[in-house]
């Protein structure tokens, strides 16, 4: 299975050049500040900005030489907050302080063992497995926490609609997605029951999909953090911003100068992104998704994702995205995922073909099928 090396090749070359220059570039730009106040884009942003002011040492927005907020550096998107609000929170948008600390502590434990005792509160409890024992991270010479991620007061990442839930699918989308083999679709190669079991459909390596085959694993839009390797590296100048996600080391090079989107018949792995400034918020609009690589199995010709990056403190970017896809959802919807400052370097995650997994997964599926075929037929149900 050949890794895709099409039109992105030249873009990656540019990214690599930018990244090679990154350390000096970041240092130079970080020192350029104008002292202008931040313009937070949401309530949580305002709270964070107020908090930094209350600490007695006013935070000053770092700016690039051209006066725009500077997002350069290493960030971590890891979150323990579920995408959609669990029913138990009803219409409540924010956790209490005690709840927030519980979720965070639970998330830290779950970072070492996804099903550990004490990790039941992360992601709204949806991934907890009571059968699993737990780790003591210090046994392995690890600090309980090491990624710089901070507690999130929200009950869900989705902030609009106000119920914290992704809006209903359109009738056309229900039918389309039910037949889709990608994760989130009705016929993906592996369906996890969240209790240790899974149904696997994989007749050949092609069935393993783009992620397992290392064709593309992340990169957005939007930027959705995996449960580990959730790092993001950003390099920026006046003309463009480069966003690299750790998993897969995938880049987007986003022009910041006015220019039209590519033609409607051009579809790219990470779509076609264009950035502009609205005050101190960087707004990135993306269209032209590949039909086989849309966000949440959306419709490639109608899906538009708008991302909003706002620095809200010395160590936080408020990252918000809005999904507008009238062929898929009955209304637009938005989510906020905070990005926390962390330290680099972020090692390259060069994933090529993944031949080991292809062999081991397919052999495992065949072995499971043989085992099932050897079982004697059970009694016919008399119900």
């Amino acid at each position: 299975m050949q890794k895709y090396r099409g039109p992105l090749s030249s873009a990656l070359g540019i990214a690599a050049t930018l990244l090679l220059c990154a350390p000096a570039f970041v240092a130079a730009q970080s020192s350029a500040t104008t002292g202008k106040a931040a313009a937070p884009s949401s309530n949580s942003a305002a709270q964070a900005a107020a908090k930094s002011g209350q600490s007695g040492k006013a935070w000053v927005m770092p700016r690039t030489a051209d006066g725009h907020p500077d997002f350069s550096g290493y960030w971590n998107q890891l979150t323990f907050t579920p995408m959609e609000r669990p029913a138990k929170f009803g219409g409540r948008e924010f956790l209490t302080k005690e709840e927030m600390e519980k979720v965070f502590k639970s998330g830290v434990r779950g970072s070492y063992d996804p099903g550990s005792a004490g990790s039941e509160d992360r992601y709204g409890g949806e991934l907890f497995n009571p059968d699993s024992a737990d780790y003591d991270a210090t046994t392995y010479g690890l600090s309980p926490w090491q990624n710089g991620v901070k507690p999130n007061p929200r009950t869900s990442l989705v902030v609009d609609p106000p119920d914290g839930r992704i809006p209903p699918l359109t009738p056309e989308a229900k039918a389309r997605i039910a037949a889709d083999r990608r994760p989130g679709g009705g016929f993906p190669y592996v369906v996890d029951d969240h209790h240790g079991g899974a149904t696997v459909h994989a007749d050949n390596a092609r069935d393993l999909g783009q992620g397992t085959s290392c064709v593309t694993q992340s990169g957005g839009p939007p930027l959705i953090p995996p449960e580990y390797n959730a790092g993001v590296f950003i390099a920026q100048n006046s003309d463009s911003i480069v966003i690299e996600t750790e998993t897969g080391s995938e880049f987007r090079i986003i022009p910041l100068t006015p220019r039209p989107h590519v033609g409607a018949n051009i579809h790219q792995w990470h779509g076609d992104s264009r950035g502009h400034w609205e005050g101190d918020t960087l707004v990135v609009e993306s269209t032209n998704m590949r039909p086989d690589h849309t966000y949440r199995n959306g419709q490639p010709d109608t899906q538009k994702i708008t991302e909003y990056f706002t620095r809200t403190s010395a160590d936080t970017i408020e990252y918000k995205f809005t999904v507008n896809d009238p062929a898929t959802w009955t209304r637009p919807w938005s989510a906020i995922i905070p990005m926390s400052a962390t330290t680099g370097p972020m090692f390259e995650y060069d994933c090529s073909e993944d031949n080991n997994d292809a062999v081991n997964i397919l052999a495992g599926v065949r072995a499971t099928e043989r085992k099932a075929a050897e079982k004697p037929a059970g009694p016919i149900s008399q119900k």
């Binding site: 497995n129 240790g196 397992t212 580990y228 090692f347 995650y349």
Partner: protein
């Protein structure tokens, strides 16, 4: 917890290793590995492949009958391993260690690693998607990793 001296190679079962199920079936885990087959294997590292999306650790394991078999254990991505303190220099070829993990569904001598214990007492996680299945009491100690008489020859 001590491994018996004569038991140089493989201990399979619940005595050392409490079976548990993964809460999250990683893209490969559920299809590839069998959570009903926990394994504890002592052996000598022959090759470490720090590759994405999953690293592989290969080790020679000598059974009670004296035959040596090369086992492979899957770990997490190099990035995950590095964050857990495992770099390309941490486990050189020739290192004797004990690995706890789960066996492959299809291959007798492949598995996914959960943790490893070295002779100097250091313990590392494999940084992958395997569920944590051991209790603290079940972790091997450095005494368990001491080379056997066979391995000293």
């Amino acid at each position: 917890m001590q491994l018996k001296g004569t038991l140089t190679a493989i201990v399979v079962g619940a005595a050392l290793f409490l079976a548990a199920k993964p809460a999250v079936a990683h893209h490969a885990f559920a299809a590839t590995f069998d959570t009903s087959k926990p394994v504890t294997v002592k052996g000598t590292i022959t090759k470490v492949e720090l590759i994405n999306p999953h690293s592989w650790f290969w080790m020679d394991v000598t059974g009670a009958d004296g035959t040596t078999v090369n086992w492979g254990f899957e770990g997490g991505s190099p990035n995950s391993l590095i964050r857990h303190g495992v770099t390309k220099d941490t486990i050189p070829v020739g290192t004797v260690l004990i690995v706890q993990g789960y066996q492959s569904k299809a291959f007798d001598h492949k598995g996914v690693g959960v943790n490893m214990t070295l002779a100097d007492g250091r313990k590392f996680l494999f940084g992958g998607s395997a569920p944590g299945a051991e209790s603290q009491a079940a972790l091997p100690t450095k005494d368990d990793v001491k080379p056997t008489e066979d391995q000293k020859k």
